[in-house]
């Protein structure tokens, strides 16, 4: 990366520049707080009881025994339902991840580095479909799956999750910029078959884009609510749908449940934390990497 900061040769700031700099930093920090305060609060909330949540300082740490109690009440809720939800999510997203990669990487390669009839049309279609938000197709896909009696089958999430035109586009961009045709031609002259060219020349170079496509696909699916909500009812629901279901067991939000408290506010906060943990961890580790992927759409290096 080239040096791009405006530091320039060291010189004294004029008062106006100094003021501008101070205002800039103040604004940036204010927004940093806006973005990060809710998350910090979420980390602390499960260490408190509901009473402490209502009455005590929002950022005071509770204690570990309360955290343990909240943990127990959450994981024993309806016989460990939360693990079933997490397991469902892992299954659907994991299976979809495998299929997505098997499909998108060759497709992107073919569109970037081979010629076949209909290539441009397929590429244009991919671009258009890629920009259509996934939710726009949820009800049509539901209606379609319902017509073929697939609702309630894990495939009703896995297959739609595996359709990922953005991944194909990313792969296409990657191969058409990072891999030169000359390199492939050289291999062909050496007698490699087309499939060997893909497997031995292109694939080893494709690790970054595989990771990128995998990441976007997995996190997008993990956070998807609408599609599995309609296509996988009941116990087959993934964690995002389960999380929303938990709400109806929280008396603070659903007041007719008067007699017995089943999920406390702090346990709900803990559940939210568990639901986001897998994605959050990947996120924190791959930050740099993602940034390059998000800009891959149009920068011309």
């Amino acid at each position: 990366m080239s040096a791009h900061e405006n530091s320039g040769p060291a010189r004294a700031l004029t008062p106006a520049e100094w003021l501008g700099r101070a205002v800039t930093i103040l604004v940036l920090i204010t927004f940093a707080l806006f973005f990060v305060v809710p998350l910090i609060w979420l980390l602390i909330a499960p260490t408190k009881t509901d009473r402490q949540l209502l009455l005590e300082m929002p950022f005071a740490f509770g204690d570990f025994s309360t955290l343990a109690a909240n943990w127990t009440s959450l994981v024993t809720f309806q016989g460990g339902l939360i693990w079933q939800w997490i397991g469902n999510s892992a299954f659907y997203c994991g299976a979809a991840l495998v299929i997505t990669l098997l499909i998108s990487i060759p497709a992107g390669y073919a569109m970037a580095l081979t010629e076949f009839p209909g290539r441009r049309a397929l590429l244009a279609t991919t671009l258009v479909v890629m920009l259509v938000p996934g939710t726009a197709l949820v009800l049509p896909i539901f209606l379609e799956l319902s017509a073929v009696r697939l609702i309630g089958n894990p495939l009703a999430a896995i297959l739609p999750f595996s359709f990922f035109p953005f991944g194909v586009y990313l792969t296409y961009i990657y191969f058409s910029t990072a891999v030169s045709r000359d390199l492939l031609d050289a291999a062909r002259i050496d007698g490699a078959t087309e499939f060997e060219v893909f497997l031995k020349i292109a694939m080893p170079l494709a690790t970054p884009v595989i990771a990128l496509v995998g990441f976007f696909n997995f996190t997008g699916n993990w956070n998807n609510y609408f599609l599995p909500y309609v296509t996988l009812p009941g116990k087959k629901a993934p964690i995002q749908v389960g999380l929303a279901e938990l709400l109806s067991n929280v008396p603070a939000f659903n007041p007719t449940n008067a007699a017995s408290t089943t999920i406390s506010l702090s346990a709900l906060a803990l559940a939210t934390l568990i639901a986001i943990a897998p994605v959050m961890i990947v996120f924190l580790f791959c930050q740099r990497f993602l940034v390059s992927g998000m800009t891959a759409g149009g920068t011309k290096e």
């Binding site: 109806s248 449940n257 007699a259």
Partner: protein, 423 residues
């Protein structure tokens, strides 16, 4: 090699069958309030396996029950065996076929449950769940509105207990002037307004005749109720808090009286997490009426148990239903059981315990026998319109008088969408 493994994994995945083992386990959907009763059944019938799924019981007319059944209908599986709903009007859709899928609710009176057993219900208890002579559900409890008051506080302040809505309002004035902070009820949930005040006040807000829906918020009785609410919200003797919200519970010691359903007994007064009343303080009195009005009252839910027409274990379902509505220990789940013998046992038990002062049994029986019949059970609820129009309206400082026309319009719109003719 890698590819072979992946292909195998894929093949394994595609052949995964979604059907769960059918081992006769009863799947029961119910709200948290019903959980202890279901657990009591599990303890009493260890031979029947029960899988309880706790949901919101469709409270506030959230439609959870119907939505989840629609989804199961589409999936062609995943139906529960038994469902509890806090609403009384689900039979309107559960008795009908949808998109070629059989009606969800099992007809209970034509051989499924013996006639002898069904006769044990309090007369009229099954009316809301009866469509064309077919019974589609069993009432959990009867929920007539009566008048609850704290006689210790009233005596301390030197007031008489009101018996009419006019006296109730006058008591509010005195209380507001002489003992500010003390209050006479809440209107923060979606059920108190329509059922406790308008229904009890004989207001023709929610009527069905055949396929016609009628609502008249301009009727003299409706106006009287609106004025009463506005008056008491203004002098703060009616709170906008939810009965189960933190602020109501925190102020519960200042609750002097409250018109409300029979199930307030267990849900409020005998609930350690709510009013948690001292034995002997509270009196269940006959319902308030207008000075010149009929001796009638309203009804707040009462809940219904439904059996699934898809069940693989009908015998288990029968055992469950009979137990849950008629067992003398748990039937009614804190309210007045709809099943006569269980109701008698509950009333006697309450009378014996002396928790409630006064003629508990007499007051509840009077109320149960006088629910006003001018209220319908169409395929939608007045609660959604209340929550959408009135709750935020009142919170924003508007009055019932200003809001009631919008409320009426919203209910009529809902009626039209589900196919009623609207006058």
């Amino acid at each position: 090699m890698k590819r072979v493994h992946l292909t195998l994994a894929l093949a394994a995945l595609l052949t995964t069958t979604p059907v769960l083992a059918e081992d006769g386990t009863l799947t029961v959907w119910a709200d948290a309030t019903r959980q202890p009763a279901v657990e009591a059944f599990i303890a009493a019938h260890p031979e029947i396996k029960v899988n309880l799924v706790v949901d919101d019981g469709s409270s506030g007319a959230s439609g959870t029950f119907q939505t989840k059944i629609s989804l199961a209908d589409q999936a062609g599986e995943g139906w529960p065996d038994v469902v509890f709903s806090t609403q009384n009007n689900d039979a309107a859709w559960a008795s009908k076929e949808t998109n070629g899928v059989q009606p969800f609710a099992q007809v209970l009176n034509e051989g499924f449950l013996d006639a002898e057993f069904l006769k044990g219900f309090t007369p009229g208890a099954l009316d809301p769940v009866t469509v064309d002579g077919k019974v589609y559900g069993l009432r959990n409890d009867l929920a007539p509105v009566l008048f609850w008051y704290n006689k210790t506080l009233l005596a301390e302040f030197g007031y008489d207990a009101p018996t009419t809505w006019e006296d109730y309002q006058a008591l509010g004035d005195k209380l507001a002037a002489e003992h500010p902070g003390y209050f006479l009820g809440a209107i923060g949930d979606s059920f108190e307004g329509p059922y406790v005040y308008y229904w009890s006040g004989e207001a023709p807000i929610f009527q069905v005749e055949g396929e016609t829906f009628k609502s008249d918020t301009a009727h003299p009785n409706s106006k009287k109720v609106s004025d009463l609410i506005d008056h008491m919200v203004a002098n703060k003797t009616l709170t906008l808090d939810s009965l189960f919200g933190a602020s109501f519970v925190a102020n519960a010691s200042k609750l002097v009286a409250i018109p409300g359903a029979a199930w307030y007994a267990g849900a409020l007064f005998q609930n350690p997490g709510n009013v948690n009343a001292k034995a002997g303080d509270w009196v269940a009195a006959p319902p308030l009426t207008w000075k010149d009005g009929a001796k009638v009252t309203g009804n707040v839910g009462g809940g219904v148990w439904y059996a699934s027409s898809h069940t693989a274990n009908p015998e288990g379902v029968k055992t469950f239903l009979k137990f849950i509505v008629s067992d003398t220990k748990i039937a009614g789940t804190g309210g007045l059981p709809a099943y006569q013998s269980a109701a008698d046992a509950w009333l006697d038990g309450q009378a014996k315990s002396g928790f409630f002062a006064g003629d508990f049994k007499g007051a509840i029986s009077t109320a149960a026998a006088s629910v006003w019949s001018g209220w319908g059970y169409p395929n939608f609820s007045p609660e959604t319109a209340w929550a959408k129009v009135i709750t935020p309206g009142l919170a924003a400082g508007k009055t019932m008088t200003e809001l009631s026309a919008d409320w009426q319009q919203e209910m009529k719109n809902e009626a039209q969408v589900v196919g009623y003719t609207v006058e």
